[in-house]
C-alpha cells in the first residue's frame, strides 16, 4: 500500500513553516528510498499544532505536530509513515478533543481533502448539492435555503433565502451573484480557510445560487491580502470549467453560470456590499444609499445576490442533505452552525464549527484553553473591529445573534479576539476611532469627520485632559456616529468604543 502524507497548504500553516516541512519530508523520503504520496491539504484549524503533518493508516489518519523541518528525520526514524510513536505524535487526528467535539458541516472536507483536486471533492460528497438542485425548480431551491434558516454569515445575519427570493422575483435580462470575500475583520479567517482549503464548495454554492435566481455571472470579490486564496480559486475555477461544472452547459443541463475572481485593493469599507459593488464597477468604493436594495438594483444596476463566503459555502450541504438537516443545528432563530474563529491572545487558537448556542466561556476555556500568555483574560472583542468588547461578566452569553444583540454586542462573522489583562482599553478605543478614520470612504460626514474628532478626543482622554468635558463629548460623538452614518463602518465604530468605556472606565481615568 502506498503511503500518503498530508502537509497543509493553508497560508497560516505556511506562515509557520509548512512549506519547508513538506519539502523536507519529500527530500527525506527520497533519501531513504521510501515512496510517498505527499498531499497538500487544507488546515484542520488547530493552529497551535501547525504545521500539522498527517499520515493515512489502516486505523485512520494519524497526526504529528507542530512539526519543524528539523523534526522530519526523527519522524522517519520513528516510523511515522506507519503511524509510529514520536514525541510530536497526537494520535488519530479526528480523535483530538478540539476537533472531535465540533459539528463540521460547512467545513466537512477542510483539512481532509486535497483542495486542488476536483476528483477528491466529488468523492467526498462534493457536487451532490448541485446534482439535487439541477432536478429542482428555482422556487424549490430558494425554499430549501429558506427552510434551512441560513442567515448571512458575513455579519448582518439577514435571511439568505429571502434575499434570493427577492432576486428571483425581480425580472431582468442579467442578474449577478457576488461572493463577498473581502474578509477584513481582524480575528477572522474562516473565509480564507474555505477558499484555500475547499474552493470547490464555494464554486458549487455560487453555481446553485446562480441557478436558483437566474444569474449567469458570478464574481468573487477577494481581498488582495489573500494571494494564496487567489491562486487556489483560479486553479479550481479552471478545473470546474474543464469538467463542465461552470460555463454554458452545466453538467449537460443547458444552464449557464460563469465565474471570475476580482481583487480588491486594501479598502476595508469595500466589505460593505454597496461599496463592494462600486469597486467591482471600477470606481472608488463609496457606499451607496439604500434603497434601492442590491437585490433589486445592484451591480451595474441589475438584481444582485451579495453573500459572504461562508453563507455560499453552506449552500451545498443544505441542498445535499436538506434544509431541515441544517436547521436542526443551532438555537432560537440562529439555525445551523457557525464557524467560530479563536484568535489573539489564546492558547489554542483556531477554527471551531459548532451549532449556535455554546457560550463564549466554553469557547474561550474549554476549546481555547485560556490566554496564551497565561494571564487572566480581560476582554474579548467579538465580531471584528466594529464589534463590542465583552468583559468577563458577559462570557456566559450564548453564541446566538439575538442573545448578542440583547447585550448590545455583535456576533458578526464569528471572530473572537482575546486580550489579557495587560491591555489598555482606552488605547483600544482610540485605535477603533483611528481605524474608522483610515478606512472611512468619506461619503458621510459623521464617519469622515467624526472619526477624526474621535481620535482627538481619545488623545485628550488618554492624556487625562478635561475628563469631565471629554467623556460626555465622546459619548455625544458616538451618538452621532451611531445614528447618523450611512453604513456600518461609522455606525458601529461606537460599539467597541462605548463598550470599552462602559466596561473598563478605569482605563479612561474614570471611577467605575
Amino acid at each position: 500500500m502506498s503511503i500518503t502524507v498530508y502537509v497543509p497548504c493553508d497560508s497560516s500553516a505556511i506562515s509557520l513553516g509548512a512549506g519547508r516541512v513538506a519539502k523536507a519530508i519529500g527530500q527525506e523520503a527520497a533519501k531513504r528510498g521510501i515512496e510517498i504520496n505527499l498531499v497538500r491539504n487544507g488546515s484542520r484549524g488547530m493552529y497551535w499544532l501547525e504545521p500539522l503533518v498527517e499520515v493515512a493508516t489502516a486505523k485512520g489518519r494519524v497526526a504529528y505536530g507542530p512539526v519543524q523541518p528539523g523534526d522530519v528525520s526523527g519522524l522517519f526514524d520513528a516510523g511515522f509513515t506507519d503511524g509510529g510513536a514520536h514525541a510530536l505524535g497526537l494520535g488519530l487526528t479526528e480523535e483530538i478533543d478540539y476537533f472531535k467535539k465540533q459539528q463540521r458541516l460547512t467545513f466537512a472536507r477542510i483539512g481532509k481533502t486535497d483542495p486542488a483536486s476536483l476528483t477528491d471533492y466529488i468523492e467526498n460528497d462534493g457536487y451532490s448539492g448541485l446534482k439535487n438542485a439541477l432536478a429542482m425548480s428555482q422556487e424549490q431551491i430558494v425554499q430549501a435555503v429558506t427552510d434551512s434558516g441560513l442567515r448571512g454569515r458575513g455579519g448582518a445575519a439577514f435571511p439568505t433565502g429571502i434575499k434570493w427570493k427577492t432576486v428571483l422575483n425581480t425580472a431582468s435580462l442579467q442578474k449577478y451573484i457576488i461572493c463577498n470575500a473581502d474578509e477584513g475583520d481582524s480575528g477572522t479567517f474562516s473565509d480564507r480557510m474555505v477558499m484555500e482549503g475547499d474552493p470547490f464548495v464555494l464554486i458549487e454554492g455560487m453555481t446553485i445560487a446562480g441557478l436558483a435566481v437566474d444569474a449567469t455571472q458570478g464574481y468573487i470579490y477577494l481581498r488582495v491580502e489573500y494571494p494564496h486564496a487567489l491562486e487556489v480559486l483560479n486553479a479550481a475555477i479552471a478545473s470546474a470549467y474543464k469538467e463542465g461544472y461552470l460555463g454554458d452547459n452545466i453538467q449537460g443541463s443547458g444552464l449557464t453560470f460563469n465565474l471570475e475572481v476580482r481583487l480588491g485593493a486594501g479598502a476595508y469599507v469595500c466589505g460593505e456590499e454597496t461599496s463592494l459593488m462600486e469597486s467591482l464597477e471600477g470606481k472608488r468604493g463609496l457606499v451607496r444609499f439604500k434603497p434601492p436594495l442590491p437585490a433589486i438594483s445592484g451591480l451595474f444596476g441589475q438584481p444582485t445576490v451579495v453573500n459572504n463566503v461562508i453563507s455560499l459555502a453552506s449552500v451545498p450541504v443544505i441542498l445535499d442533505k436538506g434544509g431541515d438537516y441544517y436547521r436542526d443545528f443551532g438555537m432560537g432563530r440562529s439555525r445551523g452552525t457557525l464557524p467560530v474563529q479563536l484568535a489573539g491572545n489564546i492558547k489554542r487558537p483556531g477554527l471551531v464549527e459548532l451549532g449556535f448556542g455554546l457560550t463564549l466561556r466554553e469557547l474561550l476555556y474549554d476549546f481555547g484553553g485560556g490566554s496564551a500568555s497565561g494571564r487572566p483574560i480581560k476582554a474579548v472583542q467579538v465580531g471584528g473591529p466594529l464589534g463590542a468588547y465583552l468583559p468577563e461578566s458577559q462570557f456566559d452569553t450564548p453564541l446566538d445573534y439575538e442573545a448578542f444583540a440583547a447585550n448590545w454586542t455583535v456576533l458578526g462573522h464569528g471572530g473572537i479576539v482575546v486580550f489579557d489583562d495587560t491591555v489598555n482599553m482606552a488605547k483600544m478605543a482610540r485605535y477603533s476611532m483611528e481605524f474608522c478614520k483610515i478606512e472611512s470612504c468619506g461619503k458621510c460626514t459623521p464617519c469622515r469627520i467624526g472619526s477624526t474628532r474621535g481620535v482627538e478626543v481619545m488623545d485628550d482622554i488618554i492624556n487625562g485632559r478635561n475628563l469631565d468635558k471629554n467623556i460626555p463629548l465622546l459619548r455625544d460623538l458616538c451618538d452621532t456616529l451611531l445614528n447618523g452614518s450611512l453604513c456600518a463602518l461609522g455606525g458601529m465604530t461606537p460599539y467597541p468604543v462605548l463598550s470599552a468605556l462602559n466596561h473598563f472606565p478605569e482605563d479612561f481615568g474614570v471611577n467605575a
Partner: protein, 158 residues
C-alpha cells in the same frame, strides 16, 4: 527603447488585454502595479482614454485604495499587520521594533531602496499573531528576533 517607452508599451498591453471587461479599471490598475510595482502618473492619461474616463476619475480611484501606489516601492514591501488580534499578541511593540530596525515609518522606503514598509489591517493569519507579509510570503508569530532574521535572509537572497 527608452525606459519610459517600454513602460508605456507594458501599460498599453495591459489596457488592451483587460479594457473590455465589465468594470475594467481595478483589473487594469492591478495589472499595471503587478508589472511595474506601482502605477506611474504617466500611465493615467492612457488608462483614462481607454476607458472613456477623466484623468481625475482614474486618479481618484488610485488614491482611494490603500494598496495602489504611485511611487516605486523598495525591492521588497513589508506589510505589517496593525489590527486587533496582532495587537493582543504584542503587535504594537513589534511595530516600534520594525520601524526602528528599518529606520523608516509606515508608507516610507529605506534610503538604500531595499524595503518599503506598509501597514495592513489583517492578513487573516490571526491564529498566528502577530503577522506580516513580505512579497507574497506570509509570516506568523513574528518576534523582534524572527523579524531581524527574516530581513537578513531576504537581503541575502535578494
Amino acid at each position: 527603447m527608452t525606459e519610459s517607452g517600454s513602460t508605456q508599451t507594458t501599460v498599453q498591453e495591459i489596457i488592451a488585454a483587460l479594457k473590455d471587461k465589465p468594470g475594467a479599471l481595478l483589473p487594469i490598475l492591478h495589472g499595471v502595479q503587478d508589472a511595474l510595482g506601482y502605477i506611474p502618473e504617466g500611465s493615467v492619461p492612457d488608462i483614462a482614454t481607454a476607458l472613456s474616463l477623466s484623468r481625475a476619475e482614474v486618479h481618484g480611484v488610485i488614491s482611494f485604495y490603500h494598496y495602489f501606489r504611485d511611487t516605486p516601492p523598495g525591492k521588497q514591501t513589508i506589510h505589517l499587520c496593525r489590527a486587533e488580534s496582532c495587537q493582543a499578541m504584542g503587535g504594537r511593540q513589534l511595530e516600534e521594533h520594525v520601524k526602528a530596525k528599518l529606520g523608516i515609518d509606515f508608507h516610507e522606503t529605506t534610503a538604500d531602496g531595499k524595503f518599503s514598509l506598509e501597514p495592513v489591517y489583517c492578513l487573516g493569519n490571526c491564529a498566528c499573531s502577530p503577522a506580516m507579509q513580505i512579497g507574497k510570503e506570509i509570516y506568523g508569530r513574528v518576534t523582534a528576533d524572527s523579524f531581524d532574521a527574516t530581513i537578513a535572509n531576504t537581503e541575502a537572497s535578494a
